[in-house]
Symmetry: C2
Subunit: 490 residues, 2 copies
């Protein structure tokens, strides 16, 4: 812990992994591509989960749980869906292990071979729509507003903790509606929740928009997304909300008797965010000392580090800090009093900086004599030494200020690295350095693909705010259909 | 919904499934052996989960998440463990689907065959101990008190919703300690939490004790359990807490440098409860009208059913009930105002009885005139008609009384059906009718097996409270080593 991380500027990818390892957020599992979320990382996920869950419930959603296992045949039902997921899935073929002939090893028992192979869910549309078929008969059964917190699996060999692992945790909402209009509204209502939670809790500024045909979810009519800029100026898709039209209803034959007595196919949405957001959290706010956590997501918001030589001094300091700790309790601020022996204050400072705790409060014997405490902000390293009662009373405001400051820093960074250009040459230069580029696109999938092949940049989204007047396509110079954001992406 | 369930007395097993289906707690998934937990059932799980999670956290535990996938070789590391789990597991052998030759079907791509097969976790001891090996070096790293909320898979072909499904949800705690004593204390501390939550929240009386060698967890030194009596007088293992000794530490070579500078193997525990508890909840409290939920677990504690003909009357009733609903809000009582049109009050009564809502409050125009409401208890069907202000003020006490009453009913039932006997003939008769039998056992595994083969009864536990003085073994008539509980079990 005392040793630092690889500097960001030297090797961004190594810096990222170092921070995760040293802050004890996650670790590699024994099977290639899998991840262990360690307690400190899991606390972040729990806090994010609770925040989202409350928002979902406030807007009428309810949780349920659907099976991990999907019959192979289901994946083939929605034709675009299979193309999207068949290439990267875990396939269960046997249900029992047995000893091999010479009893030196365990092998799948040939007699336990399954008649139909089973897929470990990469996402749950198919299994959920097979159930909705049973549950939906009449318009009275609609809407169904179900969310699920679950693990899903998509085969990955090039692991990156939180960003790309075979198994990850997420929530997936799956709703069924009477009308297209209602389903479309639902899609955007959820996008709004994602935007507000990611910005207000994680302090990550996002751009909201729509995906192009090439980038949308396999099986969706429209995919909406929130996109964020990471510290290396690459984009990360932070959440998606899909309007599925009647695609899954048709694939699974889910019809309802409408109020006018006619039979209709149901309209659908699906939407999700995952533990990937923790990867974004690290990349957006982290620095060369480690994590920097916005107070709204920090498991520990304040750490107290007593500076003491004797047990007696330690007790005095603890007593002295009573008023500050009581303030924390009264204001629902989570804190930790680090009274570990045999570790130097310097070691502790480094450790809590690595773990991104927003505020550190130091107290030594001399501070007590002067009725002072020292408060150090993790976001900007500013140190305040002042009267204990005075500084204590400012803690809530300081936490709020840290939350805002981290968000604003990230927003400034995003704005400073977002460029508008009409020149494809400049586009290529900027993309190579790392940037978001806002420019015109003629709406042609071929143009999009050419740009991707030539620069590795993709259209991250078509932002909701459009001003395409007199804009030309960056590639073909034809009149632009859309104003879009290009970037290299995770 | 309007139709009832199969009477308990007619067919207990059908009654059980009917209640689950009609109360919309769960449904069968498309893959044989899998289960869908529907929103109403999942709300029960969420409430139970929150209650347990708080208790775990209060006692210093913290959550983390370990991978779903376990290398096949891990299962073979702890020799007893493999025997316990190899016979019933889901084995992943391929990572990609492809089209067959004539493109009529999808098949596992032969080129994606895995070098080493992967097991979907039946429990996580092995994967967790492979990580603890990395994380534990010194006594300073101990104790580790980690819990995980997760899905696990044990192959099952004879599905029973909540009780026996291939995949189920559970929590599994895995702790590592410096000394045997500390680990043993942990095992019992957790058993205590299980006992108190199952009794106080679910209202299910349990018997605490230790498993015999034959019945303990594969890989444990000692298994402790809580056992409950279901409505058909069979036993259900409601939770287990295992003292693992150094078995997993040795299998995964997890040593630590102790304070005296010697290297030692770590001591371990593991413990879990699952969605199976919801099966117990249904079986212990349900009746021929459906579920009966103890208020502490009920997602909806009070349902208001207005009896109205016109929209105007409905509004008046809603206004009239304001004081009662405000009382609920102020007392954190969850309620639902059932203002659905076109459904008769009788239909609604049946539906909410089926769903086990503890209190129903009915109000019609005449009740309003008399300043009355009608309160009906689900536990004992008692109906109270009285002044609205008076009855409202009694709601909290009534809920508490329902909670106690359901627990006491179940405890009486358990006691009435628990017998002490010295005669093996009587034992066989009683076991056949359904009963818990408290009797002497000579401690011999062969005796235990003979009784199991002859009667299908197993030793559910060796209760903590022992009085074996002058007791003889029910089977061999030798002096009894233990006083034990026999029963047929789920």
């Amino acid at each position: 812990m005392s040793k630092g991380v690889t500097p960001k500027s030297e090797n961004y990818s190594k810096w990222y992994t170092d921070v995760i390892t040293k802050a004890e957020l996650a670790d590699y599992g024994p099977v290639k591509g899998t991840m262990v979320i360690r307690p400190y990382g899991y606390q972040l996920w729990e806090k994010l989960k609770d925040t989202l869950d409350k928002e979902f419930k406030k807007t009428g959603h309810i949780n349920a749980y659907f099976p991990l296992f999907i019959p192979k045949s289901f994946l083939a039902k929605e034709s675009e869906h299979v193309e999207g997921f068949a290439k990267e899935c875990a396939i269960v073929t046997h249900s029992r292990l047995t000893h091999n002939e010479d009893k030196t090893d365990l092998i799948p028992d040939p007699e336990s071979k399954l008649e139909e192979e089973i897929i470990v869910r990469p996402t749950s549309e198919t299994v959920i729509w097979s159930m909705y078929r049973k549950w939906i008969n009449s318009y009275r059964d609609l809407p169904i507003l179900i969310n699920q917190w679950a693990n899903v699996v998509r085969w990955e060999m090039r692991t990156r903790l939180f960003l790309r692992t075979s198994e990850f945790l997420w929530q997936e909402g799956h709703t069924a509606h009477q009308t297209a209009k209602e389903a479309e509204e639902e899609t955007l209502k959820i996008l709004n929740i994602y935007e507000s939670v990611v910005q207000n809790t994680l302090g990550i500024p996002v751009i909201c928009g729509k995906k192009t045909e090439a980038e949308k979810f396999a099986g969706a009519d429209d995919t909406y997304c929130i996109e964020a800029m990471m510290g290396d100026k690459r984009a990360l898709q932070a959440g998606t909300s899909h309007y599925l039209g009647q695609n899954f209803a048709k694939a699974f034959d889910v019809k309802f008797q409408d109020i006018d007595n006619t039979e209709k196919y149901v309209y659908a949405t699906s939407w999700g965010v995952s533990t990937r957001l923790l990867g974004a959290l690290i990349m957006v706010h982290g620095d060369d000392k480690g994590l920097r956590l916005p107070p709204n997501i920090a498991p520990i918001q304040i750490v107290f580090v007593p500076i003491f030589k004797t047990e007696e001094d330690l007790l005095k300091i603890q007593n002295y800090l009573n008023q500050t700790m009581n303030y924390c309790k009264d204001n629902n601020i989570t804190y930790y009093f680090d009274n570990r022996q045999k570790l130097s204050p310097g070691y502790k400072f480094n450790e809590w900086e690595m773990k991104g705790v927003p505020i550190r409060i130091e107290v030594g014997v001399r501070d007590m004599e002067k009725q002072n405490i020292t408060l150090v902000r993790r976001d900007n390293s500013i140190k305040m030494i002042d009267n204990i009662t005075l500084l204590t009373s400012k803690i809530n405001d300081t936490l709020q200020d840290i939350q805002n400051n981290l968000f604003n820093n990230a927003l400034d960074f995003q704005k400073q690295n977002t460029f508008q250009t009409h020149s494809y040459d400049e586009f290529k230069q900027l993309i190579n350095k790392g940037a978001f580029i806002e420019c015109g696109w003629d709406g042609d999938a071929q143009t999009e693909e050419n740009i991707k092949n030539e620069t590795n940049a993709t259209i991250r989204c078509i932002p909701f705010t459009q001003s395409t007047q007199e804009l030309q396509c960056i590639y073909t110079s034809k009149p632009a259909k859309f104003n879009v954001i290009f970037a290299k992406a995770y």
